[in-house]
Symmetry: C2
Subunit: 451 residues, 2 copies
């Protein structure tokens, strides 16, 4: 039977399986979910085995396990390594979820759950595509390997070491990853660039105790005033980053790159209205897709200090905190950017404030030339299923490990995404559009058959 | 027997009673403590009755009850109305308390509990002083009234109406309040000024959902960036408030006032070291006591938005919040100051930010001439017990109702405080020094006998 018929006949069973996986709260950032991480990895291993993969292993690491498997029975054919992740983002604010994040629910044509699109849902497509070919044909047209980790949302601390230690076992001609998005419904895209990332936390301490704002207000430092004063030096009113040297290794946008961005025909009005925004916002002289695809950014992800409860508390807080991540592009070196930010913060440190800076994650940006053979074949596979050839884009997100894969495993990394940009990844009510669940499996089968 | 002996003999019993009161978590700001508020009021009423007061009533209000009592058997003598409050501040951060806030504990010569010094402990002194005179003499040298409220920490919403509705029943020649502090150990003070207060909350909303910082970072407004940008416009680096017209109704410091402040011989070095501060901080050209006693201030009491958990979350928050209180002096009108702040905030509103401002509490500053007879007698009473006459000071805190009392009940308001400035009021590990517990009761007895 045709693959379309096969997937249709097995659709209910496939969705039931995926829901089972999504119901495991595999939040890698929160230590209390360590047992759930193991359960999610073991679920994955069992499902790979049932699909017909071989050498399925749950590999322990210093953090969360990495699941590997392979099927190497196509001599003379290329080897494709599928990468993805089974860990998910935290879920707060929990009260904004319409249905609980770990009780997967289909509403309309969408599957709602934390991890539905980022990235369990997309990893699942590859397993079921391989299973389908094996069931229909008895063999695979390529050699295939899986390497699925549990620390992508916390910067893949243990994967680089694992790749280097197992570079022979994981050797491949290309790496295939589904952790990105279509441009919009019916408009597929292959990302040829991902932003890098670095993160840091700032703590400001003033007095050794919270103080009464009547007895002390106006005469002692207030940790929140100091934090606000410090953070306000980081951007101008347009969001341009004011840290000295921040843009040093950013390439100016060439006319060719600008032309490629224009091709996306991105509807800024629609985005603004979808997000309920009064206005889009960002560096002057750039469109939205340019700002997100080709410009670095420094975002405050969390700021807090003092009283947050109901009513008023006339307190001068003794401490304040900020969490920051930067998205990096082109040749920006994460360590160099962190050093520059730290130098900046120490130079503008407010009077009476004790400053503690804790650097966090680091990842370089990734870029690939779209004219390579496999990227062209991937675009063709989309064309066969979606009726529209995939565009080559630059994506604003970071998959910190992609640059590592391109260096250690294979220069060719195919970012074949099946999400949509409005699927609330990292936010309440994350979901996955089932249209791309269906077409995603067909596109992967098509691609593997063309490689 | 002497009053000193009487209080010594009853000390254990008195402390046991006070601990009982302090163990009731009468946090007026938190609605879940409404039953505790009633328990605390009823405990007070029972204790006033046992002390020999008459007409003891727990008066219902639209908020928390007001407890009144009197003893009017000294014809031809003045009437003194004692005001105080039985409500307390919230207790977070709870983990910083060495012993739980509502399990009163004596360590060394200090009684630790929320409300120990602000204000249950100080109200208690008046009850026990009156009880002592009645037990020792059988009658009181003055007519006395009590009016103890449960909403001081939330701006006394219902007391002004109560005073106005009951102005005859509460009529008095002077109002006596113990809710302030000695300057330092052994250095008593009578406050002749209190700062006023106004408060507001700011909410900033941007998108209708939290957004992924990879897919959107650099291209959409970030509620935290907007909040930081907004709040940073409120002060210069010294803490001077930059709101247009904020200082319009503030009197410049006269040479006489400056001389009075100098008399306090305040040790700024000591304060800095006690609070573990790198530096004191405030408007240029003013000493600490001038900044706190005679200058207004605008304090951030709480700021929050985005991710506050363990680890990293690459989110662009859709909302951010700030809680602000101002301390006001001289003729500053709280509503006028609020209006000016709101005008300022709306004028500097960042691009793409929806701004919601919720005004809160309002109270005028209070000032009294120290040369009046009763204030002089109060200073003498301290001299008799402490061996040092009380200094007349300006206090940085606000007791929003004092100005109301001086207008509705009696122009003479005697602020006879027995706290110490480092007793952590409004902070973890609030406590009351028992030296002033003992001397406080004696001073009140001395004062009532001299009136």
């Amino acid at each position: 039977m045709s693959y379309a018929t096969y997937f249709q006949e097995n659709r209910e069973q496939h969705l039931a399986e995926l829901k089972e996986w999504l119901s495991i709260p595999s939040i890698s950032a929160l230590s209390e979910h360590k047992p759930d991480m193991l359960r999610a990895a073991e679920w994955l291993a069992a499902t790979l085995t049932r699909a017909g993969l071989e050498n399925v292993k749950v590999n322990e690491t210093a953090g969360h396990p990495i699941v590997t498997a392979d099927h190497l029975h196509a001599p003379g054919k290329p080897t494709v390594l599928v990468y993805g992740h089974y860990d998910v983002q935290p879920v707060d604010p929990l009260n904004l979820w319409e249905t609980p994040p770990f009780e997967p629910t289909i509403r309309g044509d969408k599957l709602f759950a934390r991890g539905a699109t980022d990235d369990k849902g997309q990893v699942f497509l590859h397993i079921k595509a391989v299973e389908a070919i094996l069931k229909q044909e008895g063999s695979l047209p390529v050699n295939i390997k899986f390497c699925i980790e549990g620390e992508e949302e916390i910067s893949s601390a243990n994967l680089p070491g694992f790749l280097e230690a197992n570079s022979e076992a994981l050797a491949a001609d290309a790496v295939l990853i589904s952790d990105t998005s279509l441009l919009e419904r019916g408009k597929p895209a292959i990302s040829t660039g991902l932003r890098g990332l670095c993160s840091l936390e700032i703590a400001i301490n003033t007095a050794n105790t919270d103080l009464h704002s009547g007895s002390f207000g106006g005469g002692v430092p207030n940790a929140l005033h100091a934090m606000v004063e410090l953070l306000a030096t980081l951007h101008d009113r347009d969001g341009k980053v004011l840290v000295d040297g921040f843009y040093d290794d950013v390439l100016p946008l060439s006319e060719e790159m600008r032309a490629e961005f224009v091709k996306q025909d991105f509807n800024e009005q629609q985005l603004q209205s979808d997000l309920g925004l009064e206005a889009l916002h960002g560096e002057e002289g750039y469109s939205f897709v340019e700002r997100v695809g080709a410009r670095p950014t420094l975002e405050l992800n969390g700021v807090y200090g003092g009283f947050q409860g109901e009513g008023t508390k006339t307190v001068i807080p003794k401490e304040a905190h900020a969490k920051i991540t930067c998205r990096l592009v082109a040749d920006q070196n994460p360590q160099d950017v962190l050093d520059k930010i730290i130098t900046h913060l120490e130079a503008v440190k407010p009077n009476g404030a004790k400053l503690t800076i804790t650097p966090g994650e680091k990842a370089r940006a990734f870029n690939i030339d779209p004219s390579g053979e496999l990227l062209q074949k991937a675009a063709d596979a989309y064309a066969a299923v979606y009726g529209t050839r995939a565009l080559f884009t630059k994506d604003g997100g970071s998959i910190p490990i992609v640059e590592e894969f391109s260096r250690v495993i294979a220069p060719t990394v195919v970012l074949m995404g099946f999400g949509l940009p409005d699927e609330n990844l990292h936010a309440p009510n994350e979901h996955f559009n089932l249209e791309n669940f269906d077409k995603g499996m067909l596109t992967i089968v098509e691609f593997l058959n063309q490689v």
